[in-house]
């Protein structure tokens, strides 16, 4: 019969070998499904995925941008998860950060100072961008603080609380960008948010847009998240805060016995998580120069998976983020080729298969299967 037992300390290289095998197996299953269901050559499908994400220089940049945004959110949720605080509210925290940023950009664009064409754009942005960052940090912090405060004070369920906060943020943004909300609250004459401050005839053109470095708007977010990755790695690994987080995560009782103020750590860590999410929201709104309800596009939830898959290791997250971005957007490319004749649903099936294997393989890393000998003899 089948016997499952927990593995004790699998070597790292072996764990990665299992993961690699899982991806390979996933591709095989994808190929078989593709051949059976669509009668298409799976190599063509994978080639299309590759072309869709890394086929041109532009796509490489876009893929990098998507990667760093997903990575950024994953980094942001990690401190909370390491503390065993089930924060699934990244979606809302990022969105509310983006919302705060967009509000700053929009209203600044209406102020006489920012509309004055005689003041150089760099001066305006030097004033506005720090405000945007601050606003997004505060908004994200608030969205992180509330569930943590309620948890520490009344022991509310943080999973439900953070989940609900996502919907609050999402519906708030949905209302604000709807025809009605936009008209009545932001601009009585407007119809859509569109690209903020994009009217070239006004002095406020380009106000609040994050600067393009080296001709690419995606370089700045990449640099910011790059620094963030290193900082967070060091914070979790070597700082006193990081240690406290780990201890609280292992056992709250141990933590309080050893003199750690558990509630303070919980609130502090969630505020940090929220702030980092808010910052990613600021990067999103400032780089895309707009606010929509699809700006975060479920990445707040995907980030939870990335964080877990990488065992809360910021460096590992780079790889898992890349893998997921590659799969998701490659699949979208597959769906858009008329010669393949597939629609979006098929691409989602492929992504589903691949994620199933990637998540499933963690089981084989943590546990081992043993087949008992008696059964074998019978056979």
């Amino acid at each position: 019969m089948l016997h499952i037992s927990k593995r004790s300390g699998l070597p790292v290289w072996k764990a990665w070998l299992i993961r690699g095998a899982a991806i390979l197996l996933a591709l095989v299953v994808c190929s078989i499904v593709t051949m059976i269901v669509t009668k298409l050559n799976p190599i063509t499908v994978f080639k299309t995925m590759f072309e869709g994400t890394l086929g041109t220089q532009r796509r490489v940049w876009v893929t990098v941008y998507r990667l760093v945004i997903l990575l950024g959110i994953s980094l942001a949720v990690t401190p909370a998860f390491k503390m065993r605080f089930w924060n699934i509210g990244a979606e809302g925290q990022v969105l509310i950060g983006a919302f705060a940023t967009a509000i700053c950009m929009f209203y600044a664009g209406k102020m006489p100072f920012f509309q004055n064409p005689d003041i150089p754009l760099s001066v305006k942005n030097l004033i506005l961008i720090p405000c945007m960052v601050l606003a997004s940090l505060l908004a994200g912090a608030l969205w992180g603080f509330l569930p943590a405060f309620f948890k520490s004070r009344w022991n509310t369920n943080e999973t439900l609380f953070t989940l609900m906060m996502n919907y609050v943020a999402l519906q708030l943004v949905k209302f604000m960008i709807s025809y009605r909300g936009f008209k009545y609250i932001w601009s009585p004459n407007g119809t859509v948010v569109g690209i903020i401050n994009s009217d070239a005839s006004l002095g406020s053109y380009g106000v609040g847009w994050l600067p393009e470095i080296g001709g690419s708007r995606y370089l700045l977010p990449t640099a910011v998240i790059g620094v963030l990755t290193v900082v967070l790695y060091l914070y979790l690994r070597y700082s006193k805060h990081g240690y406290e987080i780990a201890v609280v995560g292992e056992s709250e009782r141990t933590a309080s016995y050893s003199g750690i103020k558990v509630n303070r750590v919980i609130i502090r860590t969630m505020v940090l998580s929220g702030m980092l999410c808010g910052l990613v929201g600021c990067l999103l709104a400032g780089t895309d120069r707009t606010l929509t309800d699809t700006l975060v596009d479920g990445r707040g939830y995907t980030a939870v998976m990335v964080s877990w898959m990488s065992k809360f290791n910021p460096i590992g997250m780079i790889f898992s983020s890349f893998l997921i971005v590659f799969m998701q957007y490659g699949a979208k490319e597959v769906a858009s080729r008329p010669e393949l004749g597939l629609n979006h649903s098929f691409a989602d099936i492929l992504t589903g298969i691949i994620l199933f294997f990637i998540i499933g393989c963690e089981f084989f890393i943590n546990y081992q299967l043993q087949f008992s000998r008696h059964k074998k003899r019978e056979v």
Binding site: L27, S31, N41, R180, N189, G194, D199, T294, E339, H344
Partner: protein
């Protein structure tokens, strides 16, 4: 340990097997591609961006036109991207299409406009064509264009079919004259929708002068539940015929379940409503797609605004559902159509409607989109409202007498 490697090796073998098999299968596919290339017509890569997918009548209409135009012109190298929201995704998609060699890119939804303009600024050598947009004639980009069709003419003709049906119901004694109220489910209070329901109403009124109309808005282009509920509300209010300007099957299916005649838009919904569907008007985008693609391939300039008409084949009526439509409807429609082409019938003739009880002699419409939304153009001349002439997208936004708006919140 041994077992572990055995598993890994097995996996590798399976992968290799699959890979081998497929390389064999790849060859005929390549040949096929080559033969396709040889018979290729116009040598240009085209991109299409759609808000939803084939499940939306609005987008399906675009997708069919895109495929049709490419087939007619012999273009095999084209991309259709569906489910692109009205946000940064549109910019990313358009820019990606441009960077991967598309020479002309079309988008189909109003909210795509800003993002198309952003991409157009970044890729000056690529043509960006946006259906239903309003900013091309003021944005002054040589590679950014708007297009629309004089769909109000099609709506008017569909209105005639609805009017004939009402007349038949009157004659048969199914309804009395004071029950002559029809309903309309709209998405938003945009000029596009206002222009649409007004022209439809005027078409109905040209047959049954006593008719009134109620309009309700859903606040979404595609919300099956809201559209269904909207239609139900109108039916419960006593509306005896429903039409709609929203993209799901919500209103047609509500009409079918209640046995209320329905005039559709963008596509025939006869499958959903075999006993209630009368007719549908639609914009056929194929003429514009063919025109714009040809122009882009030849390096010719595309006008900032292009308005399709009945004559260009851009405004169409689907075949009447003879099971529901009244006798003589086709003749009436043909008559009005001929008069439109001859220029003797104007849908928005100032004799046909009043605003606040008064006949209009002058109206300044907001044709040039500016931050302050100021009315800027005199659109009433020679006794009629000149719709879709100063720019392709509709700007008729008058609230005429006889139509009651139930909610104006969108």
């Amino acid at each position: 340990m041994k077992k572990f490697f055995a598993i890994v090796l097995c996996l590798l073998m399976v992968a290799a097997l699959v890979a081998c098999k497929t390389t064999d299968a790849e060859k005929p596919a390549e040949n096929q591609e080559q033969t396709q290339n040889e018979t290729k017509g116009l040598d240009i890569k085209v991109g299409f961006i759609c808000l939803h997918d084939e499940n939306s009548t609005y987008d399906l209409n675009f997708i069919n036109a895109a495929k049709g135009a490419c087939a007619t012109l012999g273009i095999t190298d084209y991309i259709i991207k569906t489910n692109i929201p009205e946000g940064q995704e549109c910019y990313e998609t358009a820019a990606d299409m441009a960077a991967s060699g598309c020479k002309i890119i079309f988008a189909d939804s109003f909210g795509h406009e800003d993002y198309m303009i952003q991409a157009a600024k970044e890729f000056p050598d690529v043509q960006f064509c946006h259906a239903t947009g309003t900013k091309a004639h003021t944005e002054n980009l040589p590679n950014y264009h708007n297009a629309f069709a004089a769909i109000y003419e099609g709506r008017y003709l569909a209105g005639i079919a609805a009017g004939m049906k009402l007349q038949q119901m009157l004659d048969e004694g199914k309804i009395t004259k004071d029950q002559l109220k029809i309903g309309y489910v709209g998405a938003f209070t945009y000029a596009e929708v206002v222009s649409g329901y007004t022209s439809f109403f005027l078409g109905v009124r040209s047959i049954v002068p006593e008719v009134t109309m109620e309009v309700t808005f859903t606040g979404s282009w595609y919300d099956e539940t809201a559209e269904k509920e909207g239609a139900m509300k109108l039916i419960n209010n006593g509306c005896v015929l429903i039409s709609q300007h929203a993209d799901s099957m919500g209103a047609p299916s509500a009409c079918e379940s209640m046995g209320v005649p329905n005039v559709s838009y963008n596509g025939s919904t006869v499958k959903v409503g075999p006993n209630t569907y009368i007719v549908s008007s639609r914009i056929n985008w194929e003429p514009y797609y063919e025109y714009a693609i040809k122009a882009a391939a030849a390096g010719e300039a595309i006008p900032a605004d292009w308005t399709g008409t009945i004559e260009t084949g851009s405004v169409e009526l689907f075949e009447l559902n003879s099971a529901v439509a009244a006798d003589g409807t086709q003749a009436k429609i043909d008559e009005a159509k001929a008069a439109m082409i001859a220029g003797t019938l104007h849908v928005f003739s100032t004799d046909a409607f009043t605003v606040g009880g008064e006949k209009l002699t002058s109206y300044m419409a907001d044709v040039d989109t500016d931050p302050a939304y100021t009315p800027d153009t005199e659109v009433i001349k020679d006794g009629y409202f000149h719709e879709s002439e100063f720019r392709s997208a509709p700007y008729f936004d008058l609230r005429i007498d006889g139509i009651t708006l139930l909610n104006e919140s969108y």
